[in-house]
Amino acid sequence: MDELSSRALALGVPLSVHLDLTYRCNERCVHCYLDHEDHGEMNTAEIKGLMDQLMDAGVFFLVFSGGEIFMRRDLYELIEYARSHMFCLKLKTNAFMIGEKEADLLAGMHLDGVQVSIYSHRPEVHDAITMLPHSLERSVAGIRRLRERGIRVIIANVLMMQNLADYAGVKALAVELGAEYTIDPTITPMISGDRSPMELGIGREELQSVFRNPELVGNVGEFCAPPPAYIGDDVLDEVPCSAGHTACYVSPYGDVYPCVQFPLPTGNVRKEKFLDIWRGSAAMNEVRSIRARDLPVCSTCSHVGTCTRCPGLAFMEGNMRGPSSADCEKSFARTGVTTAGQKLRQSGGRLVQIAGIG
């Protein structure tokens, strides 16, 4: 897959697109970053037209997400259209609305997989997060139906203080269901910039505990190894992540962003061609121009080659070239080594122009 990404990067091809079909949802998750009102989402013809453009642009991996995608009545029509265009298609859903009929329809679509968010194996915890009674029961039933038909399912377990004690239970549930399991300790601000959901996230000690669990991270010694002492030019010349380079996000309203977690407007497919935005947007090209050496704080940090720094989270903190505090926390939790971003924050921001922080 690295070879494929490298080839796409060299060719300037948007290999992956995350397309939110709707922000409407039947759940009201306490940590959700979306506004669930429909402010004029793209209709069926518009989305099909967009998929035509994405295919012509070379997009290979397509994700349908939301909101809850099953809130759209044209979902199967859109899935069928996507598969007829030979996209490698993954769905993200809460699986609440996947009954026998829906599972039968999906079974014939040859999907790459279906990702389902499960917060706990205990209904009282899961349902308290989704704010929807019986949601765990219904989601698990949906997953079972998918698995019975041989569809690959990935259970995504977002970690918060509210469900911190339950990840082992969710992992065991995934094993029982024959599903894959992935854990995510990152809570993101709302798309409006409201940072209140961040308060639900787990703290430093809890993060350290998660990162030292071999069942979750594999080789703990390797995962938590301190950053290398020497940072080479090859590291500083790397692109920070795939956002804007080989991947982007399209909202239900046609807005194009570098990533679902990077709300920097770059254009709207209702007004411009997708490829014109991808290639010509000044904002997209600015994101694309940034290398690790261009990050005034992070380029001086010993973690620069190993950090999971998210430029979108940094953008939401006010500077797409700045550190992302959530990722500074993760680097520290893994290694115990303070990051340049943390030192900067401890100093009240006065270190920003000083080179050699590390």
Partner: protein, 130 residues
Amino acid sequence: MQAAQDAPRKDGRIAHTHAGGRGRREDGGEGMGAIYVARSSEVAARMLGGEMMIMSARDSTLFSLNETASAIWQAADGRTPLSEIVERVLCAGYEVAPQEALQHAEELVRELAGRGILRISGEPIAEPAP
């Protein structure tokens, strides 16, 4: 015909598959009768930098077809006999002898069929992939 250089992979890396090169048919026989080939509807595929990238839904193995193999795969509509595809896309474009080209193409399509990304039949295939 050069067989696929790599066994099917489950690690997400790319298996490279080629048409052309030298080698012998495994069955040592002459070319098959009229055969029809159709792209599998179970795969994801996209042309990237002149090579067709194909992901098998069976095990998520990613295949990369070279230019000539890509041309055959794209022409595999289930209705056109392989011999006609070869004549049209290989002989015309690559200055290769028809019999040699057909032999290579037959081996290629067998290999792709074995990997689940192409269907082969002695009859036209009714519902080919788009």
